[in-house]
Symmetry: C2
Subunit: 190 residues, 2 copies
């Protein structure tokens, strides 16, 4: 068998990403296999390797889409007249909202070590992180301090979602992510 040319290279790429994304949403990161993705788009695994170098590259592509989508939602939420504090709080809440709305995509993106690096991946991270830095900049005395504060905020958001997802520390009381975040931000924004 050979060359159907039903789809262009770019179409195939998008088909695979969307199919893979849906598999992750429905069945979790562990269910993302080349055979499942291939079957979902009506091709065989071999074809995927003509478009992606390996499955890590496909995972990276799905993650890049998640990041751009999140970056877009951050841009949408931004209102020029807003105080820095309000903007930071809304960015943080948006992170929690993403985790709540798409826990499986969040896991694929943040809860699993990634073995694939690329400029696109790098750029997608910055499409998010630069906005966090921007929001914090007005409250800091130097760009270096602002960057550090942004990394601390980012780290804490990661950790809070991981903690909630693993459910490992819910003995006496659950402590909803929102409560932890509020508690953290009240001090962080002093």
């Amino acid at each position: 068998m050979a060359r159907r040319k039903d789809h262009s290279r770019e179409e195939l790429t998008q088909l695979a990403i969307q199919a893979g994304r849906q598999i992750v949403i429905d069945q979790g990161p562990n269910a993302l296999t080349t055979r499942k993705v291939a079957q979902a788009i009506g091709y065989t695994p071999g074809t995927l390797y003509n478009v992606f170098k390996n499955i890590d590259a496909l995972i990276a592509a799905i993650n890049i889409e998640s990041m751009h989508s999140f970056a877009d939602s951050l841009r949408t939420l931004h209102q020029p007249g807003e105080t820095s504090e309000s903007r930071i709080r809304r960015i943080a809440q948006a992170y929690l909202d993403f985790h709540h709305a798409q826990p499986q995509l969040w896991s694929l993106l943040f809860a699993q070590p990634l073995n694939y690096n690329s400029d696109d991946y790098h750029a997608a991270i910055h499409a998010i992180f630069d906005q966090v830095c921007d929001a914090i900049m007005p409250l800091s005395s130097s760009p270096t301090l602002a960057r550090q504060k942004a990394k601390i905020l980012w780290s804490t958001l990661h950790g809070i979602c991981l903690l909630q997802q693993s459910g490992k520390l819910n003995v006496s009381e659950p402590d909803p992510a929102e409560d932890l975040l509020t508690h953290f931000l009240d001090q962080f924004l002093q």
Copy 2:
């Protein structure tokens, strides 16, 4: 072949845990396979299944040991006359030290979703986390707030190490984990 009885059940358990631990240290979490562990202890994979339910149970056992070891180091570091601030700072630094000294064991423990739960696992987490809560308690007005603060500290430590390990945000400047931690604690301990 059958029944050599070179080792008791408990001896086999410990052999497997130590062999697995060393494989993770030397070659990383992904190198931890039943066949490698079995070969390292001079048995076959089937024998491991007579001792562990599956490989996730072995991973959990290795993690439990890591946690007890870390909990011990926290106990060792504790000095009765110390201020709360100093104790908290040293606990946090110990977390970073663990990550620095054993990055692979840290990854197995914290950077990968675990699919195996047990009372022992739960107890090991608390052997650590209860000490963090204890250290924070004197600075808080209620046990609930102390627990929340402990979770925030814990989350941030996680996040900082994850960030450093992934190396994804080291564009303009690396921002060593120690700097981020100091920056965080200076505000956290106010």
